[in-house]
Amino acid sequence: MRPVLYVLTFLGLIALGFWAYRENYATQAALREVRGLQNEIANLREALSVQRAEWAYLNRPERLRDLAGLNFDTLKLLPMEPQQFGAVAQVVMPVPEIAPITGPIDSLSGMAAVDDNIADQVEAIVATAAGEGL
């Protein structure tokens, strides 16, 4: 009985050693990968900060002003003026679209359905108008 136990213990030890060996290498590989990823993140972050700086540089007010001046022929951009403000009432409300009637409508129930549809749209317009404070 005892020798069998010894052999089994020994085999178990070998198995554990093998497992620990593999785990060790797997961990090291994972750590290496993490390090690589972190380097990549750091590089990307650096690139991002450079790009943000470049974006800010290209959008600096001085350059935009010059570009607006150079391309005046096509863009017609001028500095914002007080008279460019308008009142909401000046904006033409969009005309509600009524769904096209595709099939023949011959019954009273069909008419009722169309009426409902228009009533819904009118309600929606009133609600939007109320929301804009009109």
Partner: protein, 596 residues
Amino acid sequence: MRTPLRPLARVLRARADGSNPDLIERENIHNRQQAMQERTHSRAAARLGLMAACFASFFVLIGVRMGHLANTEPMEPVASAPGAEIVAQRADIVDRNGRLLATNMTTHALYAHPHDMVDPKGTAQALAEIFPDLKADALERRFTDGRRFVWIRKVMSPEQMQLVHDIGDPGLLFGPREMRLYPNGNLLAHVLGGYSFGAEGVHSAEVIGTAGIEKAMDARLRDPAQGGEPLQLSIDLTVQATVEEVLQAGITALDAKGGAAIIMDVYSGEVIALASAPTFDPNNRPVPLIGKNDEASDSPLFNRAVQGVYELGSTFKIFAAAQAMELGLVNPDTLVDANAPMVWGKHRIKEFEGKNYGPLLTVTDVIGKSSNVGTASIALMIGGVRQQAFFKSLGLFDPLPIELVEAPGAKPLIPKKWPDIVTITASYGHGMSASPMHLAAAYAAIGNGGIYVKPTLIKQTAAAKGTRVLSEKVARDSVDMLRGVVTTGTASLAEVPGYEVGGKTGTADKPKRTGGYYKDKVINTFASVFPASAPRYVVLVTLDEPVDSTGPKPKRTAGWTAVPVTAEIIRRTAPLMGLRPKVELAQETTLTASSN
């Protein structure tokens, strides 16, 4: 072997001897007890020893581990990847809408190990070609005089770095550097200030602020606990750019030496724009003037809005009127003595160009016509002690609490004694000096319904806490008076249709360094609030030595110089700040169908 307590042999022998056999038993009991004692003792000693060994080994273990930790290079925890943030060493600065004002960029520094150099002479020449500011012979001398380490450049561009690589000398080495970048160039230069390197090593260098908000908020910007969280200013970049453009155009047109402009939110004390001209590029900060005869204000580094303390002239008159109304001495329609010239001791108080608006003027007209004598009469009613207290409550006696490193140095110039003649002159802005920013903050108090709020450059999220210096009614009346100056008084050019500008002009002669005043050099100031019906912003423009030479006679009063510049600033920036004009200006634009 256990010894019996009464061994028969000894007992028999004892009996034969006639001695007491009990003694034998007692002796054996004693021996047995002694043996047991010895055993227990040694066991206890062994346990103690084991315990001591355990403790000792633990201590050694911990000590060794501590020593090991202390000696290893610090590194980021590799295993905890998700939380590992790589943040810049200095926080970004952004404007109130999040547009970038200052950021960091990684670049490289160049240094040399001359003992590793193959060809010091050739290298020095090649470097001088790449960097025109380096001298080949000076470099060569430093490479060959036996030192083992030479700094060559603190920062350089990637192109320059590639050229240095191409030299291919093993003695040239690069170290990573984080540098500060101001992508908007000259814009907002006086607020941002600039940077330089602090402690420098091969692998990294400290980036420290040298002026402006970079230095004032240095600790916050470098705080690792807030790393990556950008510092948000109250400045609006678009408004700032417009203000700088208009101010520069005004300075050019009026042939001025310089100027400053401030836009401030009256409720929160937030400074929306702060410009000073001439300006500079914070990426390449010029060297300060250090010559004996140089005036600090001649340098572009000089922030006229905050550092420049000037006699701000008639802009102060509204304070006298407001305080007299607050004290109940006058109301806007009270008639006060304005008979010029006024004689006070050996001084004569005169009006502009020797006019006489008197003999009596209403308080509203005193402000509207900018009467020195009328203001002096009001100031004498108030008295010096109360006047000083009021100026103090408006922050005109103390350095500004604004977040710029230059601010604490710009202390207003206040006369030590305050006799009646100072009360008179201070009431119309002479004899004491303050910075334009002081004046803007004081006008903001009038615009804010009489509550003084400290000016700030940091975007505010909570409502500002202020101190009440005027009642709401008086503040209202004062704003109406300022509005009157624009509608009927000296600042008629400030009228911007739809924005109800109210303000007060100020023209002060420049003091000579040797004492006395220049005849033809003035500082013109226009301090305004708008819209007058519900003030939102203070706009202040100061011009240094402007002159309007369009007419037959050069005009140097603020009404012809600072006022039109302010009007243009308001006309351009008010829409940018989302302020809707009060009246409809243009005809309605309508779309009509047309065939072509």
